[in-house]
């Protein structure tokens, strides 16, 4: 159930790469790391969260993602999720969450989505 989070400041956005499982056990860790990123960009910064090697997210993890979206919106930033796994895409699909998140399959597409606004 380990979670590895890598934060990289890129030109115009911050890229957070996540490896592991996002669940009740460690979802707060992701929330806290995103909180630090938001605190560093109080005037609003765009964020891409790349679920690079995430093979599991539970309902708590989804709830945390909603909290993160809210937090980013409060600082007038944009958020794009990069979901690689079919299974995780399916979870966002059946819950209707794909309608409130911008979701792509690659970081390049996520950068393009941020530029589009």
């Amino acid at each position: 159930m380990d979670l590895m989070i890598d934060v990289k400041k890129e030109k115009g956005y911050t890229l957070i790469s996540v490896n592991g499982e996002i669940d009740l056990y460690n979802a707060k860790e992701l929330k806290d790391r995103v909180g630090y990123v938001c605190d560093d960009s109080p005037d609003g910064g765009d964020l891409i969260i790349d679920f690079k090697d995430v093979d599991y997210i539970d309902s708590t993890g989804l709830g945390i993602m909603i909290g993160i979206k809210r937090r980013i919106a409060e600082s007038n930033g944009g958020l794009v999720l990069v979901l690689h796994s079919d299974r995780i895409n399916k979870l966002f699909d059946i819950t209707g969450l794909k309608n409130i998140f911008t979701i792509t399959r690659s970081v390049d597409d996520a950068v393009a989505a941020l530029k589009k606004g």
Partner: protein, 137 residues
């Protein structure tokens, strides 16, 4: 008449007990006639049920136990998750896909169970609440 195997595990109401439950379920469904996706769905649903038991049923009280029972039958598997909570009215759970619930941070656990299992039932008694997850084979 049903002929099957039954096994039971009891854990404390702590999130770091979840890997024990995962191992318990994964080992039991390994030989069931389920494909990879169905197996993942069962594992996911049981974890959601146990999380609900820890968080809502027993409210993180480590003195209160959670009982997970696995039963395998020729035509189905059945997993019961029992906590000490007072229970709730399942018919009043909001649909998380509805606009007023879509952005809620919680309330998707039972929805996932219903999506991923063949049948989801609840039993409430003075001793506690039990969710019964059934997957037909």
């Amino acid at each position: 008449m049903d002929v099957g195997v039954t096994d039971k595990i009891i854990i404390a109401s702590e999130i770091n007990e979840l890997p024990i439950i995962r191992e318990f379920i994964v080992s039991h469904i390994a030989d069931a006639k389920l494909n990879e996706k169905e197996r993942a769905n069962v594992e996911f649903s049981v974890i959601e049920a146990v999380m609900n038991a820890i968080v809502h049923g027993n409210e993180y009280d480590r003195g209160k136990k959670i009982e997970v029972t696995y039963s395998g039958y020729p035509d189905r598997i059945e997993i019961k998750v029992k906590d000490s909570g007072a229970g709730f009215d399942p018919s009043k759970l909001p649909d998380p896909r509805e606009p007023e619930s879509l952005k809620a941070p919680s309330g998707r656990g039972v929805f996932f169970m219903r999506q991923m299992m063949s049948k989801v039932e609840f039993e409430f008694s003075p001793e506690g609440a039990t969710v019964i997850l059934t997957k037909m084979l």
